[in-house]
Symmetry: C2
Subunit: 340 residues, 2 copies
Amino acid sequence: MTQRKYPLTLRDVSEVSGVSEMTVSRVLRNKGDVSATTRSKVLDATKSLGYVPNKIAGALASQRVNLVAVIIPSMSNMVFPEVMTGISQALDETDLQPVVGITNYLPEREEKVLYEMLSWRPSGIIIAGLEQSEASRVMLANSGIPVVQIMDIDGDPIDAMVGISHRRAGRKMAEAILKSGYQNIGFMGTQTPLDHRARKRFEGFTQALAKQGVEIVDREFYTGGSALAKGREMTESILTRSPDLDFIYYSNDMIGAGGLLHLWDKKIDIPSQVGLAGFNQVELIDGLPLRLATMDSCRFEIGQTAAQIIAVRNGLLDLPLENIVELSPKIEFGDTLLRK
Amino acid sequence: MTQRKYPLTLRDVSEVSGVSEMTVSRVLRNKGDVSATTRSKVLDATKSLGYVPNKIAGALASQRVNLVAVIIPSMSNMVFPEVMTGISQALDETDLQPVVGITNYLPEREEKVLYEMLSWRPSGIIIAGLEQSEASRVMLANSGIPVVQIMDIDGDPIDAMVGISHRRAGRKMAEAILKSGYQNIGFMGTQTPLDHRARKRFEGFTQALAKQGVEIVDREFYTGGSALAKGREMTESILTRSPDLDFIYYSNDMIGAGGLLHLWDKKIDIPSQVGLAGFNQVELIDGLPLRLATMDSCRFEIGQTAAQIIAVRNGLLDLPLENIVELSPKIEFGDTLLRK
DNA sequence: ATGAAAGCGCTAACAG
DNA sequence: CTGTTAGCGCTTTCAT
C-alpha cells in the first residue's frame, strides 16, 4: 500500500506479479484472453502497489484518446450546466469523457482553448455556436475529428450541428405576444455583439413584429452585474421612460425574473397590465410569485444529441442520427403571458 | 491551408521548413535560442500546414503535463463556478490549465474521477472537501503530486488545504443572531449526509446556541428540486408548524431567497417579525426586494490560493504560502438580520 | 493464453 | 545556434 518510486509503471506491476508487461496491460484493459489465475495475480499486484496506468503513454501508443472536448462560452450561465449534463449522460454509455474549455465569449480566447484542446487529440469536439473566427474554423475543419456545433442552427455547420433556431424562437414569441393582444412591446437584453444567439432571437422577434406592422416601443441593453438586479432596475427605468408599454420580452429568464419582481413590488398587474416573457426555462427561478413565460431552449437534449453524434462517429454507438438536428422549443405561457 | 494526412507531425513541419525536428520543436516551445530566420521559416511552415502539436507525445517525452485536476461535487451550485474563476485566474499567470471533474457528491464517483484524472499525470490536484473515501485518500497520498483540499479546514489535510471553518461560520452566525435578540430560531437546509460543509455549519450553529442555553425550535431538510421553490414552500410549512419562530437560518442563499419571497408575499415584516440568514453570498440573488443576510464563503480566494499553491509547488510561482490557509468569512447583515 | 519486438510523436541531453 | 541519439510508458502486431 505504501510506495516510494512515484510514477509506477507497468514494469513494476509486471515484476511484482511475475507476469509480462503485455499481459498486465491486457488485464488492465480487459482486452484479449487472460487466464483467471494470471488475472488475479495481476490485480493483486496493481492493488497492493496502488498502480495507476499512464494514459499519456497509452494514448500515444494506441493513437486513441477517450476525451471529447467541449468548448463553451461560460459556465455560470445556467444554460451550459444543463448542456453538460446531457453530454455527460450520453457519454456515460461509452468510455468517452468530456473535457470542458471556457471562452468567456472571447473569440481570441476560443482560438487558444481550441488549439490547446486539439493538441490533446480528442475523439471529438462539441463547440457552442456557429460563429467561430476564421482561424478556429480552419482548425476545426482540419482536425480530422467529428465536430458538432451546438445551440444554434441558423447558419452552416463545419461538420454537424444540433440546436434550435433562435430566429424562429424570437419569431414564435412575437407571434404569441401579438396574438394575446399586446401592442406596446419593449425588449430588454444583453449587449448583443457578444451573444449571437440573443441577437438572433432579437432579430427574429422584431421581424415577426414588423410583419404585422408592429415596431418595438423601447429597448434596453445591459452588460455585467447581477441579471436579477439589472432586470429590476432596467424594468423600472424602461417603464418610467415608456409608461405605455404593455409587454416586455427579456433575452433571458434571470432579467425577466428581475422585471417580474419589480412589477410585483409596484403592484402592477401581470399579465393584464404588463405581460412578460423570458427565455431558457431555467429551473432556478421556480419559486417566484408568478411563473415567468418563457421558452424551453432544449439544453439537455442538445448536449445529449451532440454527444451521441460523437459516439456514433467513433463507432461506439449505433443510432441513426442526422448531421443536422433541429430541436423545437415550445412556449411556456406561465402566469405572465395571456393565452389567447 | 488545406491538408490531407490528418495527424500532422513535427516531421512534416521539419520537411516543409527544411529545419530539423528538434529545432522546430524549440521554436514551437520558445525554448532555447533559435535564429530569427529559422524561426520564421518554421512558423511559416506550421501556419501553412495548420500543424497542431501533439501534447500526448510531448507530455510523455518531457514527463510533464501542464494540467491541474480540479475535482468538485457539482457545477450548478453557484459556489463552484466562482472557485473555478479563482483557479483560472491564478493559473493564467502560469502555463498550467485546469481540468474539471464532477462527482455529484458521490464518493464512488469521486474515486472514479480521481483515478481517471491521475492517469493523465497532472501537475497537481485541487479537490473539494476533506472527506474522501479511504481509496481516494490512498490514491491522493501516493500520487506524488501536490494535493490541495479546498473549501473546508475542519479536519486534517492529506497535503495542503485552503478554506474556511464551516463550524466557526455556523457559530458566528448563531452568535450574531442571538446578539440581535432573536430567540426562537429555526434551521432549514439540504439533506446533510451528502454535504459535509452544510452539516458542519449546522453543528457549529447549534453548538453556539446551546452554549447560550438556546435550542433550535424547528428544522426542515430538503433534497433536490428548485432551491428557491423549496425555500418558499418549506418556509411556509415551518412557520405554520412553528408560528412563534422569529429567525430562520438557511444552509444556502437560494433557499433563503425563497423564504424571503414567501415572507415578503405574506407581508411578514423582515427583520423585526422574522429575521433570515443564508450562506454563500451569491451575487445571483442581488435584486431581491431585500438583501438577505449571509456570509461570504470566500470562494474566489479559495480557488485562487489553491491554484497558487500548486503553481508554487511546481516552481512556477514564487510566493510565501502556508500549506494550511484558513480564510475568514464575514457576516453580511443585509436587510434581514437586525444589527445590534 | 502469453511473450517479444517495434514504435507512437515528441523532448532531454548531449554534440558540434 | 543547430542536429543526433535515445528513450518516455504504453499498445500493436506477430510469434509461440
